[in-house]
């Protein structure tokens, strides 16, 4: 086993990263009905860092974000955000916590009946008593940070996929959150937009002094911008490490994922009976 990856023991750097984490999941289990999604997951999101959570489709990555945001409750285990158990928070306390969180949805989730400006102003108008002049300035600053100040009067339908994602990012950081969550932020973007979004995630995290969790499939982009990576498969953390650890690993699962190999620990074929028997008339 590659010792640079932390399965059972963690090098000093990782230990340091893990001190006083902003988010901590302790032995979390979650299921939709009878279908188990997460089986005994434990991980930490250190303060000020950008952490990626990776894994195949349907492995429970987005569910993790929903647990951190309090949209779902774990069957067992604890999800701690800034020391508070999310599942135990009442509605008002949960909303107070969410005001310090920002979440970027896969396709932006912009409000289609509002302009770009009004979308970014939305959380400021809902949660602050700031004057319209101050809100105007703040919105323009947020839009400038994502390079779209000139698009303030456009409607979401007039934006490209990459621009919509950047507007949503501006809206996500409107209240200067402590925790930024990104659900598949690179999906469906051209290489230029993908690079722009990646760099914005890194720069905004550092500028705001926030912590970021990125749920993504995009290994190459993630390796360039994140501080730490968790790999999830079948509801468990199967590997973790820094980008350098991941690049140099010989772990079969991570190797298959990083090099996009069709077959490996994650099999190409869905489990089925004997092929020859199926072709000669037996049950598949």
């Amino acid at each position: 086993m590659d010792e640079s990856l932390c399965y059972n023991h963690r090098p000093a750097l990782q230990q340091n990263l893990m001190s006083e984490p902003l988010v901590r999941l302790e032995n979390v289990r979650f299921a939709y009905g009878e279908r188990a999604i997460l089986r005994d997951i434990s991980l930490s999101i250190p303060r000020g860092k950008v952490v990626a959570i990776m894994g195949g489709s349907g492995c429970g990555k987005t569910t993790l974000l929903r647990l951190i945001g309090g949209q779902e409750k774990a069957r067992s285990g604890r999800v701690l955000v800034d020391g508070q158990d999310v599942a135990r928070l009442g509605r008002d306390d949960l909303y107070a916590m969410r005001r310090r969180m920002g979440m970027l949805f896969q396709f932006g989730a912009l409000f289609t009946d509002m302009s770009v400006f009004d979308n970014v102003a939305f959380p400021l108008r809902e949660h602050t008593q700031l004057s319209p002049e101050l809100i105007n300035d703040l919105v323009l600053m947020k839009l400038h940070a994502v390079g779209l100040r000139g698009a303030a009067r456009l409607m979401p339908a007039e934006l490209s996929g990459g621009m919509a994602r950047r507007v949503a990012l501006a809206r996500t950081i409107a209240l200067d959150p402590m925790l930024l969550m990104y659900d598949e932020p690179f999906t469906g973007l051209d290489p230029i937009s993908l690079g722009v979004i990646g760099q914005l995630i890194r720069r905004l995290n550092d500028a705001l002094g926030a912590s970021s969790v990125i749920v993504t499939h995009d290994i190459q982009e993630s390796l360039q911008i994140v501080d730490y990576i968790y790999f999830i498969s079948e509801g468990r953390v199967v590997a973790e490490g820094t980008p350098d650890d991941i690049r140099n690993t010989s772990d079969p699962f991570v190797h298959q994922f990083v090099h996009a190999e069709a077959d490996g620990p994650v099999p190409f074929h869905y489990p089925a009976g004997d092929y020859a028997t199926a072709l000669t008339g037996g049950a598949a």
Partner: protein, 259 residues
């Protein structure tokens, strides 16, 4: 036999579950309604979309229903030499029954389906989830204003429908056929009681407004977040609203008008 019983049981359980869920949803709307009235512009916007945008179909339909009532009413009444009572027949039919019921059915088709589609599409595009993650309650911000927009619009639209229907009846009866103008209005004035007829009609239209608006927002909020799910939700809104209006109409009529 066992399979049929199981299916019936599942259907009954699902029905009870949905009834419980819609009741809880209604309670949540009432709980969050304060916010939609403190930010009145949200409710006024929905009043415009549900009420003002439905005006054309309501007024035109009201006129045609009045025209048909005038023709049919005259044809029947003149057999008994009571054609002067045309005004009474048109007004009572509209104020007591046709106004609230037909306006309710039209309102469900025009505004109810639009509300369901809008909320359903917001769900499909994760706008409701995004709002919730921004610590803004979608029920307070999206659902409650649309609900109250529907509830307030409905009696106003029903009143306009009835007024337009009476005008249609007058056009056919007095202007086209030649029924006496004075008799038309005087008999109507004498026969229509404000409390017994008009107020009961208004109560009916208010109840229909609550039913249609609740079904519309619930179906949108509860829909499966796919294109097919939204389409099914819109169909359910129109069908359930129509059934609810007709069933509630029967119940209310049996209590209100006992002769």
């Amino acid at each position: 036999m066992g399979g049929v019983l199981r299916k019936l049981g599942a259907l009954a359980i699902n029905g009870v579950w949905r009834l419980g869920f819609i009741t809880r949803f209604f309670w949540m709307i009432l709980l969050y309604s304060g916010q939609s009235f403190t930010r009145l512009h949200l409710t006024i916007r929905e009043l415009y979309f549900s009420g003002v945008m439905s005006l054309l179909i309501i007024l035109v339909s009201g006129l045609f229903v009045g025209l048909v009532l005038g023709l049919q009413g005259y044809e029947t009444l003149q057999r008994y030499g009571a054609s002067d009572s045309l005004g009474t027949l048109v007004a009572l039919s509209l104020v007591r029954e046709l106004g609230p019921v037909v306006a309710g059915l039209l309102f469900a088709s025009r505004a109810g389906s639009a509300v369901t589609a809008e909320i359903g599409l917001m769900k499909v595009t994760e706008q409701l989830k995004a709002m919730d993650m921004m610590a803004v309650s979608p029920i307070a911000r999206v659902v409650a204003p649309r609900f109250w927009g529907g509830v307030i619009s409905m009696p106003l639209l029903a009143a306009l429908f009835s007024a337009m229907g009476v005008f249609g009846g007058w056009l056919i009866g007095v202007v086209a056929i030649g029924v006496d103008d004075g008799a038309f209005w005087a008999q109507m004035q004498a026969a229509v009681d404000f409390r017994y007829d008009v107020i009961n009609g208004v109560i009916k239209s208010c109840v229909f407004g609550v039913a249609v608006a609740l079904i519309a927002v619930f179906e949108g909020y509860d829909c499966v977040p796919t294109a097919e799910g939204v389409s099914r939700a819109i169909t359910r809104t129109v069908v359930s609203s129509a059934l609810a209006i007709l069933a509630l109409d029967f119940v209310m009529t049996s209590f209100m008008f006992r002769g």
